[in-house]
């Protein structure tokens, strides 16, 4: 993680956040972000140093007073771990900033805080959850029984997902299909003289149409061709491993 000055990363976060959305709701987490980066001291995780044999690990919790620009926010808990077996001989301190967000209450998102007028802003919920998951991926936290996380993505209604993710992709794909269709229709017409209506009646043209549709749906990036091939291999690989013993069936009788 960032050994150099944490301020530039926080600033870039601020700017990237603003570019993502101009909603005022996002400035609050950004300020907190800043403070979290400032108070975090980065170091190697001491836990990775545990070697063989029985080792005693003591975990101490330390609470820190809130930084000045966060008067209304909750206390930040920072945990320090000391590993006596650090390879350098010096005690290594590790502080893991916990995920905090004023809208994250009781292990789930407080939907009331996402209301825009009288409707809930689902896009903001999706953004907030994405950020939370990204945070926890980068800074894994201990799972706790006192504050269990009970958020389920299915509370976000299906149409919010469709509007946000499916529709732009569908637009892209339909655009591709339309362009390919127009160009191919023109090409086939110039080569064979068949107009659009006549092409639809021809079997070969219908096959071409089918292939074009399937191609547009399955292959959206250049990497997809390799991915599809790998998936095909994967689905049969485990079967091959189990069948391997039966390949020997004919040759083994002679080995007695």
């Amino acid at each position: 993680m960032a050994l150099f000055s944490p301020i530039p990363t926080a600033l870039s976060t601020l700017s990237s956040k603003c570019s993502l959305s101009t909603k005022p709701l996002f400035t609050l987490p950004n300020r907190r972000n800043l403070s979290l980066f400032v108070t975090r001291s980065s170091a190697d995780k001491g836990e990775g140093m545990v070697g063989s044999a029985a080792v005693e690990e003591k975990v101490e919790k330390k609470k820190e007073s809130p930084s000045p620009d966060l008067e209304e926010k909750k206390l930040e808990e920072e945990e320090k771990e000391e590993s006596p077996l650090d390879s350098n001989g010096a005690a290594v301190k590790v502080e893991i900033p916990k995920f905090q967000d004023p809208r994250w209450v009781g292990g789930t998102w407080d939907l009331k805080q996402f209301e825009k007028g009288d409707k809930i802003d689902w896009d903001a919920v999706i953004d907030a959850e994405a950020r939370r998951r990204k945070w926890l991926e980068d800074y894994p936290e201990a799972s706790s029984n006192e504050e269990p996380i009970i958020f389920d993505t299915s509370i976000i209604p299906w149409w919010a997902w469709i509007k946000r993710f499916h529709l732009p992709e569908a637009e892209r794909l339909n655009g591709r299909a339309a362009m390919i269709g127009f160009f191919m229709a023109y090409l086939v017409d110039s080569l064979t003289g068949l107009g659009l209506v006549d092409q639809m009646g021809n079997f070969f043209c219908k096959t071409l149409l089918f292939i074009a549709v399937v191609w547009v749906l399955l292959i959206r990036d250049n990497e997809d061709i390799e991915k599809l091939r790998k998936i095909l291999d994967e689905t049969t690989f485990y079967d091959k491993q189990w069948q391997a013993t039966w390949q020997d069936d004919t040759s083994s009788d002679s080995k007695k």
Binding site: A142, Y238, T245, K256
Partner: protein, 474 residues
């Protein structure tokens, strides 16, 4: 599981050691013991006798089979062989071996193998699945009061099965298997070389011995030497874990609960776990693709469980391989592999004890059948019958778990979807039913359809969030 002697010393000493014939050392098959009262359930194997017509009758002696390895697979195989009238020797190098293992056995194992209930240290009835973003789901709501996952200490279970085999008539030998000589001719015997550990002395003092048998059952685990002897091919594996003793009040939380942590931090292709044992918990993780980083994964597992194991002391650190797919060749001639040696560990859950014991038993049954209770020589086709039976019976289970692993352990977003799906009661019921009874039971088709729709929905949502996550830089 490193061997103590090198193959070179074995080769040089081969000329010196006399070949000791096996006949005359064992009691005759007619003295087979009846099952003792320790069995909770009387043995109910009713074997159909169908001899291989081509195999000759053995001249005045029963079939001799060596079982190499005294774990669940070896113990179950030796017991069934001995009960079936076959002369059995069971070679085990460490009789008190504390195997680093989750130690979870399904309900069907207790019934099928007649395990006494005091073997089970704990009954786990609640499992907590924890996603990469710490969404925690409790599964086990659908369990009936008599259903549980049994947690055992491997040294207790293994010793029990071995003792039962010994009571049935198998000869238990404490020794280290060194080498297997394949027969010169088609009907010739297999020659086993092993180091016999003398009782009462330190393990250093050992005596090189040789024995001739008609067939060999390789039950010697992931690093099987029997498998090497028959050129069985290799496979991938890794696992590691530590035992931790945690304070009493924290131990109460794990009274009947086990935890599973999924996430890239904990394992890229498996999961991290906290399983309760008799007086401590086992915190571990495993991986196949990133074996070199296992320590990091172990540390990450401890971090995720930190609040719940706080104040705990590490009492033991262990690592051990487990196979993740079957070996390319499981039978050659009159040598068959069972258990971990054959690679019968499921994907996704990493379960192996039940399949080891079951495969040991099935292989032994096939040998007893093929030899007409020890009267005829067997050949490879008899052993292949065991393979066929095992593959037919458990192939759906293995395949389903493989598909689950491929779909749900793929990435963090897939794991999030996985944990979300586990909150569904139908999923819980299907999962536990198939785990506890080892039968892939097709449920109500309408529910299955709803499940499929929900699964796709979860995966789509998780992947959509993933795309959003990739746009964010923290």
């Amino acid at each position: 599981m490193a061997s103590l002697s090198s193959p070179t010393t074995a080769a040089t000493r081969r000329q010196d050691s006399p070949i000791r014939p096996f006949v005359g050392l064992r009691r005759s098959p007619s003295n087979n013991c009846i099952p003792t009262s320790r069995n909770a359930v009387p043995s109910r194997h009713h074997l159909q006798i169908r001899a291989a017509k081509s195999s000759p009758r053995l001249p005045g002696r029963p079939l001799r089979v060596a079982v190499v390895g005294g774990g669940p697979a070896g113990g179950a195989a030796a017991e069934t062989l001995a009960k079936g009238g076959v002369e059995t020797i069971l070679i085990e190098r460490k009789l008190d071996n504390c195997k680093p293992c989750g130690g979870a056995i399904p309900l069907c194992m207790v019934e099928e193998f007649g395990l006494p209930l005091d073997l089970i240290d704990r009954r786990v009835t609640k499992m907590k699945m924890i996603s990469p973003s710490n969404v925690a789901v409790d599964i086990g709501r659908t369990l009936k009061p008599h259903e549980y996952i049994g947690m055992v200490r491997r040294e207790i279970l293994d010793a029990y099965l071995r003792d039962r085999a010994a009571e049935a008539g198998a000869q238990l030998i404490n020794g280290l298997f060194l080498q297997l000589d394949l027969p010169e001719s088609g009907e010739g015997p297999y020659r086993l070389h092993y180091n016999l550990y003398n009782k009462g002395t330190s393990s250093v003092a050992s005596e090189r011995q040789t024995v001739e048998v008609d067939a060999v059952v390789g039950a010697d685990g992931a690093n099987s030497r029997v498998a090497k002897s028959i050129g069985s091919g290799d496979y991938d594996y890794a696992i590691a874990f530590q035992a931790m003793r945690i304070p009493e009040e924290k131990m109460k939380y794990y009274e009947e609960r086990a935890e599973m942590y999924v996430g890239d931090d904990v394992s890229p292709d498996f999961y991290g776990w906290v399983f309760p044992k008799c007086d401590h918990v086992a915190v571990g993780t495993g991986t196949v693709t990133h074996k070199g980083e296992i320590k990091r994964f172990q540390a990450a597992t401890r971090l995720r469980a930190r609040d719940k194991i706080e104040g705990g002391k590490i009492i033991r650190v262990e690592a051990h391989p487990i196979p993740e797919h079957p070996r390319p060749r499981r039978v050659l001639g009159r040598v068959a592999l069972v258990g971990d040696a054959a690679g019968y560990v499921t994907k996704c859950s990493g379960e192996g004890i039940y399949f080891a014991a079951k495969s040991g038993r099935m292989c032994a049954e096939a040998i007893v059948e093929g030899s007409e209770n020890g009267n005829r020589m067997i050949n490879e086709s008899d052993l292949r019958k065991y393979l066929k039976k095992f593959d037919q019976m458990y192939w759906p289970t293995y395949k389903v778990l493989d598909v689950l692993q491929k779909v749900f352990y793929r990435s963090n977003s897939a794991r999030e979807a996985f944990v979300e799906m586990c909150a569904d009661e139908y999923v819980q019921k299907m999962t536990f039913d198939s785990y506890l009874y080892k039968k892939v039971v097709p449920g109500n088709p309408l529910d299955d359809l709803k499940l499929a729709v929900n699964t796709i929905g979860s995966l789509v949502r998780a992947n959509a969030l993933r795309k959003e996550m990739n746009k964010i830089t923290l």
